[in-house]
Symmetry: C2
DNA sequence: CTTCATGTTGACCGACCGGTCATCTATGAA
DNA sequence: TTCATAGATGACCGGTCGGTCAACATGAAG
């Protein structure tokens, strides 16, 4: 067992929770250490800086995400268009659960961090961008398959995929501002109506 | 002339710029004072706390916004559906101008603040929510008029309006993460395809 | 038994945080 | 001329920030 990395893991998951629930700037290293029951010197043994911690947190969350409900939602056995609904549902239930427990909607960690730090830290911005790109590719794939199966007419699937991801982030943003996860369900159904036509192949 | 309020105005516009370009937590009162050429004591003469400053900044920006290009975009003389494109265009040009000057996309001040502080400060959250509500009403009105004019079939105009606002915020978020204002134009066109049907009137 | 790497401890650093306050100045009305 | 008020000044507060460091514990390899 990775007892050797237990401390690191504890730091990581504590930081993830705190960053997600509040913000990057608002959470101090001391607070993370206290909650994770780790000494400050130990922290800096594993993470050279707060920025490095943020990088690790993003990686960690992106992994859990990709192998968790995103993998479920974009299951190849599901009809492509149903995957979109599944993704919305997953976001809804996640945020609802969080709100039921903590009383407030944390929103999407990636979206939160992106808006908070992408003007200040280009490295973190690039990393978050990569996460979004990867997510966008899932939508892209689903759309291409839907076209192949004749479920929808041909369209600019790459741009539409990005638009769908943007819409997902947007409704989570709005839901968080309203502190009401139901917004995700109420508006989320519209994701399938989004559509960007193929450019004229002049 | 309001020389009497010149100091206050300088604080306000400086804070607005800094909050918009970076974040709430990352900008200190000292920095605002230095840039606005105001003494700290003077600052606290006008604003009881940083939170009050944020409130004022949001009000200030919301005013400029409502009377500025939002008023233009949602001009009653424009065909309803064109207003949507106009709004996307306005967002695009604004962000592009900002990037050309400062090298980075600040995104939407309201969206930025909403994700950063709405889990920590319910008063500010409520204020931002009100701003979004007001913006949503413009979309709502445009949609209702489009239905009236027979330009689009009847739909749940209120929910669709919210979805459109969410989409706008979402593409700005994605564009900011990519640091590329073109994203707004490329994806923005899809806003008109968003559609939420009326609930079954069983 | 020694060596060395991995990890732990907690005191410590300078800088900065949001916020306070006594003091001073400028203005305009009585 | 007096007086009240609005505003400006900058030193000061306790606390926290991200980060450093030398000393120490542990355990496996030689």
């Amino acid at each position: 067992m990775n007892v050797e990395h237990d401390t690191r893991t504890r730091i990581l998951s504590t930081a993830r929770e705190l960053f997600h629930g509040r913000s990057y700037a608002d959470v101090g290293i001391k607070e993370i250490c206290d909650l994770a029951k780790v000494q400050k010197g130990s922290f800096y043994h594993f993470f050279p800086s707060k920025q490095d911690l943020a990088m690790a947190v993003i990686d960690d969350m992106a992994d859990d995400w990709a192998h968790g409900f995103v993998a479920e939602a974009f299951d190849q056995n599901l009809p492509p268009l149903e995957r979109l609904d599944y993704m919305i549902d997953a976001a809804y239930y996640w945020q609802k659960a969080a709100k039921d427990i903590e009383g407030r909607m944390p929103g999407c960690l990636f979206g939160n961090l992106a808006l908070e730090i992408s003007t200040r830290d280009d490295v973190l911005r690039a990393k978050l961008n990569a996460v979004f790109d990867k997510a966008s590719r899932r939508f892209h794939e689903a759309l291409d398959q839907a076209v192949e199966l004749g479920e929808i007419p041909p369209l600019d699937s790459e741009a539409t995929a990005s638009a769908m991801l943007a819409f997902l982030e947007g409704i989570i943003l709005l839901a968080k501002t309203r502190n009401d996860p139901e917004v995700i369900r109420d508006l989320g159904s519209a994701i399938k109506t989004l559509r960007i036509e193929l450019a004229h192949p002049n």
